[in-house]
Amino acid sequence: MNGFDDLERQLRGKVAVRRARRRWRPPVRTLIVAAIALASAGGVAAAATGMIGGPGSEERGVQLLNEIRRDTEDVAACRVEGPDRRPAQLSALPASDLALGAYPRLRQPATARERALARKYGRMAGSTTVLSSGARELRATDGTRFALLITAGRGRGLGRGADCLPILRAELERRADAADAAAVAHARRLLDREERAYRDNAGRERLVLLKLRRDRGLSSGGGTYTDSAVRIGTGSIGVTRVDGRQRTEVDGLVPARVDHVLVRSRVRPKLAPLRFAVPQQVFHTVLPKRFGNRIAVQWRSASGTVLRVLKLRY
């Protein structure tokens, strides 16, 4: 879902919610006026609350596919794999030279604990296969723990593999006669796109950073294909809720030649940047509120040269 669609989805929800809220807490005077209005012009009021327009064929296609996904969740190939379900397979394949060059810690053998992490979270990293040599537990300077995994299996998403696609297709065709033709056509296009993504990414080495939380296990993650990224690394920003309080967290993985990371606010550029050392090639921070929702993460060498700037926002 892109940003414009997400905006529409959220605002649609708010339109209904705001109406519902107004219904629950009407002032007495409004109630009386509404009662009179309904009694005298019931037809008009009913027409105003009726459906106008309706979702487009694309939206109906997405809805149809979502229904099919929900209905096939119990089929083994379509099951969303949590960390407590089937563990990922470990592969003895070596990591690529590019990955080893950027992350020299990967040259050391993985510990038993790190291999266990790989098995546990491999599927959450969107893959069935994790390189046994590519699993590391890293710690940012503020103590936050991360799992760095190198995956080589096919697929993307949280555990729902390419094997599920034929099942989704079959179910779509089974429902095609009863459903709207344009929505079915769009759902078919979405499945085609998904299949292409699986095919194009099959076997590609992917470097995934997952944030681990002591209280809730896995929290969030991000990844990058090592064969397509010139300067491989990740960065992510997201809003989390801890003890009922909302906060914005930023984290990232940086290659070996990065000495430190500067985080600047793009909303208030005059604010002093935050500086983080990256001894284990990861950083993490809770962003001060005054930084706003847009930041720039600068990877810097020891001499202060800016090696890369990642623009992040939420």
Partner: protein, 182 residues
């Protein structure tokens, strides 16, 4: 059947989410293009668009069709958001906060779309500029500059009724043009 903007806003005020979707899709290209051509930062253009439509959701129940057509109302909201952002040097998020919207992650495709709309999208102000001089001046003074009918009538040396008629006709023409471009 295509519903008027005013009918969609009424439906929205009555809690009809589909009414909002129809309004959003009809005017999204024009509003995005309006901001994209006026701010250099594509993300800021997206934020302004999001804030404008959030303000539409907040204010839809207060929309009063006797004060002018919906397109004028939307243009007024967009114009205010832009003025505020220039004055405060940042895009405010009042309406989005009020609605408690979740943060929206925008991707390269969104920025690309903003870029495309900046190049090819319909521009509300250009459409206004394309109106006849009488209609253009009246619409600009009333909708963008938010001057009173009395003031405008004094400037134009005509009656308030004539100004109202010019604004009404200008906006009707504008609405027809927007339908043709979106």
């Amino acid at each position: 059947m295509e519903h008027s903007d005013e009918a969609l806003l009424d439906a929205m005020a009555a809690g009809d989410a589909d009414g909002f979707s129809s309004f959003y899709r009809r005017h999204l290209p024009a509003v995005t293009a309006y901001f994209a051509r006026r701010v250099a930062d594509r993300e800021a253009a997206f934020d302004l668009t999001a804030e404008t439509f959030a303000a539409v959701v907040v204010a839809a129940p207060r929309f009063d069709r006797s004060r002018g057509p919906a397109i004028a109302w939307l243009l007024g909201i967009a114009s205010h958001k832009l003025t505020d952002s220039v004055r405060r040097q940042r895009v405010e998020a009042d309406a989005r906060r009020r609605l408690a919207l979740e943060p929206i992650a925008i991707c390269d495709a969104d920025l690309q779309r903003v870029e495309e709309l900046a190049a090819d999208g319909p521009d509300l102000c250009e459409l206004v500029a394309g109106l006849s001089p009488e209609h253009r001046d009246a619409v600009t003074a009333r909708v963008i500059d938010e001057r009173s009918y009395r003031e405008i009538a004094a400037d134009m040396q005509c009656s308030e009724a004539v100004v109202r008629q010019r604004v009404h006709r200008g906006l009707r023409r504008l609405r027809e043009q927007l339908r043709g471009t979106t």
